[in-house]
Every structure is written in C-alpha cells, then in structure tokens.
C-alpha cells in the first residue's frame, strides 16, 4: 500500500499488518492440518474411529479464539476513537472546545469544492474563499474538515492519510488528520455516485505552515466572489 503520511495512518498500517500476520499463521496452520489429514487418513486404513465429540478439545478451540477475538476488538478501539470519535480540541479562554474546521469540503457530481474562511477566520460566512479541485493544508497540524454534499452520497478518501468518510447529503460530517510530511496526493470519491464517479478526483497538497499562509493570503487576495458561480453551482 502507498506510504502513510500520518501517525494515525501508521497505526492503521500496524493493525492491518498485525491482523494479516495472525491470519496468515492461522491459514497456514489449518491448511497444513487439512493436508496432513488428507494424506494420513486415506482409504488404506482399516476403519475410521467412531468418535462423536471431545468436550475438552472443543472447549479449548472455543475459548482460545474467543480470547483472541475479544483482545483484537479492544486493542483496536483506541485507533478507531482517534480517527473517528475524538475530534482535536483547542483551548479558548481556559475552555476546551472542538477545533473549528479549517476547510469546508463540498462534494457534488462530479467534483470537489474547498471553501476556506475569508478574513473573519470562520467558514460558512459571506467572505468565504472557494476553489475547485485543489485542497492545500499545512503540515504538522491538526486539520479538521467539514464535509457536505450537494446531491448524492460521496466519500472523501485520501489513501495516503488512511482517511475515508462518506458524505451524506443533509448531514454534516467531520474528518481530521495530522500530516507528518509534506507532499502531493490525490483525493478520490470512494462511494458510487453516478456515471462520472471514477473521475471525481482532486489534488491535495500538504505544505509547510508558512507556505500555507502565503498561499491562503494570495488566494484570498485574488479571489473574486463571482469566480466559479457562472457554471451554476450555488
């Protein structure tokens, strides 16, 4: 799989590899057992054993997998919470509040809009700046995205960040990440959204904080509110 760009992504990779290692062990073990049985107990034997069950053996092979499964279930809960439940927070006046979103991502058939806050530092206001098909974010920071859809269900997915979140029209979703490296990657839609689903992509650039500030102020300066609105998008 492509290299991970975030710590949360590394954890997912670690879980992914760990579970596969475990699966591989079980797979090889059971396959060897089946192979050995097929080879050993062939028709040349005189008679098959007449056994119906073996309670002790059955208890062993019920309890051990049960423990393993419960362990896996609890072991990966933290990672889930970190990715989907515990939105990053900030301190404001001694109070801890959820970090406000940096970008409002709006999905539509078949493209992406990225709305940045204008001068007032808040999204969804009059002076929002919006660009199409390019998302620029700073490195080493908790970035919160607010996800919305104009029409049908889309899914915001960046493989390199191990990020995927469906966007349901009529609902507001949040996604967050903290990129550890700068780079460029592709945003794709991961939920079938119509005939043009496969080409619903956008660029994502992770840049340094100063580069991001420069870029944002340049975009804000050059931005004219009519840009893009003549194609009929709201």
């Amino acid at each position: 799989m492509p290299e991970s760009y975030s710590n949360a992504g590394n954890t997912i990779d670690y879980l992914f590899n760990g579970l596969h290692l475990l699966s591989a062990l079980i797979l090889v073990g059971t396959m060897l057992a089946i192979g050995w049985i097929v080879w050993k107990f062939d028709e040349s034997r005189e008679q098959a054993q007449h056994i119906h069950h073996n309670t002790r053996l059955e208890l062993v092979w019920s309890i051990i997998p049960c423990i393993i499964l419960v362990f896996i279930a609890f072991y990966q809960m933290n990672s889930w919470a970190e990715n989907k439940m515990n939105r990053p927070t900030i301190e404001v006046g001694g109070q801890t509040i959820p970090k406000p979103p940096l970008v409002l991502v709006k999905a539509k058939q078949f493209g992406w809009e990225f709305h940045y806050a204008g001068e007032d530092d808040r999204i969804q206001t009059q002076d929002d700046v919006y660009i199409e098909n390019e998302l620029v974010v700073p490195v080493g920071q908790d970035v919160v995205l607010q996800l919305e859809s104009y029409d049908v269900i889309h899914s915001f997915s960046v493989v390199e960040l191990r990020l995927k979140q469906d966007i349901v029209p009529g609902m507001i979703q949040f996604a967050w990440f903290n990129a550890t490296r700068e780079g460029e990657m592709e945003i794709a839609c991961a939920e079938l959204c119509g005939w043009g689903h496969y080409k619903m992509t956008a660029r994502m650039r992770i840049v340094s904080q100063s580069e991001f500030d420069n870029w944002l102020s340049r975009v804000t300066r050059e931005y004219s509110p009519n840009f893009g609105s003549d194609d009929g998008t709201p």
């Binding site: 879980l15 056994i51 069950h53 896996i72 496969y198």
Partner: protein, 509 residues
C-alpha cells in the same frame, strides 16, 4: 452497469434459488421422511413470482442505461433522485420491482420450509436427529422470514420515492443537475440500515445451507460421525442470531454514530467464533477417518479451505480502523467472492455431485468431476486472491476506469492475470455442464444408496417417485453413525432398527 447486474443475478437469481429453491424443495422432504412439502400450492405460487422478477431484471438490463445506475446496494439519493442518474430512470425502477417480486417469492418459500420441517418429520425424526443440511435450511428459512420483510418494505419505500415522489430517503435542500426533488425531510442512511439489515443475513442465507450440506458430505466420505453435532447446530443458530446484529459493519464510515460502530464491531468479531468452531469441527470430522476422496468430498474440502480464507479476511475487515482503508476497495470484493463463490458455490457443486444419483438415478463421471474441481479451485484462487493485494493498494471498486487514479496503472498486469484466470474458471464449468448433461443419459445406473450414506433420502428409490418413499420411514438414530462398532458395514442408516438388521437392508436395497 454490468457489476450491478452480475451481483443481483448471482445473489438473488442463482445462489439463493439453487440453494433454497432447488435443494431446499427437493431435499427437505426426502431427508425428514415426508412425502412432499407442506404447502405445494404456496410453493407453486412462490415459483410463479420468480418469473416476473426475472422479467423485470432482464428488461431493466435492456433499458437505456443498461441496468440500474446505483449499484446493487442501490443507495439513495443516487437511486431515488431521478436527476442524479440521468438515463437510467426506468432501469432502476424495474430493478426495484424485480427485487420486490423476488423478495415476496422467497418469503413464501421460507414459510413453507419452516412448516414442513416442524410439522412433517417422519416418526422418530427428532429435531436433533436431522441432518445438518436440514438444519442449515431450517435456520436459513427463519432468517429469511425475519429479514426479508424489512428489505421488501424498504424497496417499496424506495419505489414510492421514485414513482410517487415521496421523500423517505431524500434529505432537505439537495439538487443534482439543477433539479431538486419534489419532497425532502428523509434520511439516506435509513435505507442503508434497512438494506443491510437484510443483506448481511443474506450472506448467511447463502452459506448456511451449503455449510449443512458440506457437513453431511464430509461425515459420509470420512466414514466417521460428524464431530460435535450439537455444537454444529448451536453454532449455526448463533451465526444466524448474531447475523441480525452485525449489519452496521457495512456502515463504519457511512457517517452513522461512531459509538454505534463500536458495538457493531464487537458483534462482528463475535460472529467469527461460531464460524471458527464449525471449521474446527469439520477438521475434527476428517481426523481419524477413512477418507474417500470422491468429487463431492474434494469440493467439500475445498469449501472448508475457502471458507477459512474468507473468514479470516472477514476478521481483518471487522476492525473499523482497518476498514477505513479497505472499505470500498477490491479487498471487500475478494472477501465476498471467497465467501460466496469460493465457499457457497463450491459447496453447491459438491452437493450436485453428491445428490445427482438420487435425482436422476445415474452416477456422474468421477474423473471429469475431479478435473472440474481441480481447474475450478486453481482458477478461483487465481482470480480472487490477487484482489486482496489490489485492495491493499487502495484499488477502488465500482470504477469504470480505475487507471485514472495515479499509482493504479502498475496494477494492470495483475488485473490481466485475473482476467485470464476468470476465463479459465468459466471454461472449466463447461466440463461440469458436459458431465451433468451426459451423465443424465449415459451415466452408470445408481442404486438407492451409492455412497453408503445413512440419511433417509438414501433409502428412497433413485430417483424417488411421487410421494418420495415406497415405505413408511421410521427413524431410529441420528444420521452420522458411520463405522459404528456394532455393525459389520461402515454405515448404519437411520431407518435400520438393530445392528443385526443391517444384512437385510443390504438385500432389500
């Protein structure tokens, strides 16, 4: 929209009808010692509901848009908002109609199975003397009876959203191609919940009967009692019960409540336990046996190994953080094909080889059968195993042209390899077809019990005439008394009263 049609046809028109409709109707009365199903007319009615369903599906495919535009999961708003999928209007409506018909047909069928199994067992056939095949079909029928009404209701709501412009699944203030829906206030996630409430159990509806049949074949060809019969029954029941509370694992990243996701994750992990117990019991059945590697036995062993792979990848996916990554990639496609094709279809094929002599009074060719198994097994893995690797690289499913994404072009050779394997797999089925049709006419004649099996159907004539049995079957024991120390032969049929009677049976047969 080929993949939608492939999924719909395979699931609703091949696997479920063959397993439930074909084998269920044929085997249940035979295996419990009944003359026929409880409600023959209901059966006909269910059968005649299949045809309009077929008709709708085929029409849907030839409509402009070539089938529904929203995938087999048919998520709204894409499937409801006409302007969001221009051109596929009638196709989607017909698809929904077809699904409603097939749902009604299966519901009637499942009622019939339950009644037959509960009411019509031969004297002495306790519930815990029924072969696993019957148990599998019984539990499946219960699942269908509880889950299908939900899907059917949801489909009716979707149909009304499309045709009557209601808004069950349409939220407020959306617009596609500058056209807004007539009504709103609905919730797209509602559809997903209702849909998966049926469609996860549907997976078990497709695999539980196959599990039962494989249990019977493994025991018969190992000449050994099924290891842990009662735990097998309980684990089938547990799978079915848990199967109703795991649907949310299809929705980890759908935007539903994230705490809810945790509970679905736990139940999904737990469902691996009864599945694992079944695998161990199958292996335990073979251990210490005297294995006859006939074609049905090979398919059964194939079933078990493919089920292990499908089950393990299922555990990997049940971990929600990992699911973030592999959701909607080819990994899922690999998993479901291992479970549905690798397991279910291999089981069904083994069952066809196994019960063919009963159905047609002739044996199928064993060498051709083994060749068929070998080719199917090899090509099946060649086709579906690489999908795991594709999925791990993030290869998305449901893309018309995935190579538009960067980094995907390097996967092209692997895809070509899979295509060749898929073609090979298709070609291997021709061997089966030839064998099947040929054996119907020129296969060697089979007597009543060609495999020396215990269960009731093997004491009926091959093929059984009208009314199934030419005597009143009375059941004295469970179906798995192979290699019993008291008998001279290595089987001990359910209808034989005493071990000393065994000789007479041989003569009578």
């Amino acid at each position: 929209m080929l993949f939608t049609m492939h999924a719909t046809i395979m699931i609703f028109f091949v696997i479920i009808p063959i397993l439930a409709g074909g084998f269920g109707n044929y085997l249940i009365p035979l295996m419990i010692g009944a003359e026929d199903m409880a409600f023959p007319r209901l059966n006909m009615c269910s059968y005649w509901f299949m045809w309009p369903a077929f008709g709708c599906m085929i029409l849907s495919f030839f409509m402009p848009g070539h089938g529904p535009g929203a995938g087999w999961t048919s998520y709204p708003p894409l499937s409801v908002l006409l302007s969001s999928a221009p051109g596929s209007g009638n196709a989607q409506t017909l698809w929904t109609l077809g699904m409603i018909f097939i749902g009604v047909a299966s519901m009637m069928g499942s009622l019939n199975y339950m009644t037959t199994i509960i009411q019509m067992r031969a004297p002495g056939m306790h519930m815990f003397r029924m072969p696993m095949t019957v148990w599998g079909m019984f539990i499946t029928a219960i699942m269908q009876a509880f889950a299908l009404p939900v899907l059917t209701a949801a489909l009716l709501m979707q149909l009304s959203d499309r045709v009557l412009l209601t808004g069950f699944f349409l939220p407020e203030a959306i617009a596609a191609n500058n056209a807004s829906p007539a009504s709103g206030g609905g919730q797209p996630l509602l559809w997903q919940h209702l849909f998966w409430f049926y469609s996860h159990p549907a997976v078990y509806i497709m695999i539980l009967p196959a599990m039962g049949m494989v249990s019977d074949m493994l025991s018969c060809f190992s000449r050994k009692p099924l290891f842990g019969y009662r735990p097998m029954v309980y684990s089938i029941t547990a799978i079915a019960g848990l199967g109703f509370i795991v649907w949310g694992h299809h929705m980890f990243i759908s935007g539903m409540n994230q705490i809810l996701a945790v509970s679905f994750m736990v139940s999904t992990m737990l469902i691996a336990l009864p599945s694992g117990i079944k695998v161990f019991n199958w292996i335990g059945t073979m251990y210490g046996g005297r294995l006859h590697l006939t074609t049905p036995m090979l398919f059964s062993i194939g079933f078990v190994s493919m089920f292990i792979i499908g089950g393990l990848s299922g555990i990997v996916m049940a971990a929600p953080p990992v699911d973030i990554m592999i959701h909607d990639t080819y990994y899922i496609v690999a998993h479901l094909h291992y479970v549905l094709f690798g397991s279910s279809i291999l089981g069904v094929m083994g069952a066809i080889y196994f019960w063919f002599p009963k159905m047609f009074g002739r044996m199928m060719n064993d060498s051709l059968g083994k060749l068929h198994f070998l080719l199917t097994f090899v090509f099946l893995n060649g086709t579906f195993y690489p999908m795991h690797l594709l999925g791990a690289k993030g290869f998305p499913r449901r893309y018309a042209d995935p190579y538009q994404l960067e980094g995907m072009l390097e996967l092209l050779p692997m895809n070509q390899f899979m295509t060749y394997c898929a073609i090979g797999m298709g070609a291997a089925q021709l061997i089966f077809l030839v064998n099947f049709v040929g054996s119907m006419f020129v296969g060697p004649k089979a007597d009543r019990n060609p495999w020396n099996s215990n269960s009731l159907e093997w004491s009926a004539p091959s093929p059984p005439g009208h009314g199934n049995f030419d005597f009143q079957p009375i059941v004295y024991r469970g179906p798995y008394e192979y290699s019993h120390p008291d008998t001279e032969t290595d089987h001990f049929p359910q209808i034989v009263a005493e071990a000393t009677d065994m000789k007479n049976v041989e003569v009578n047969a």
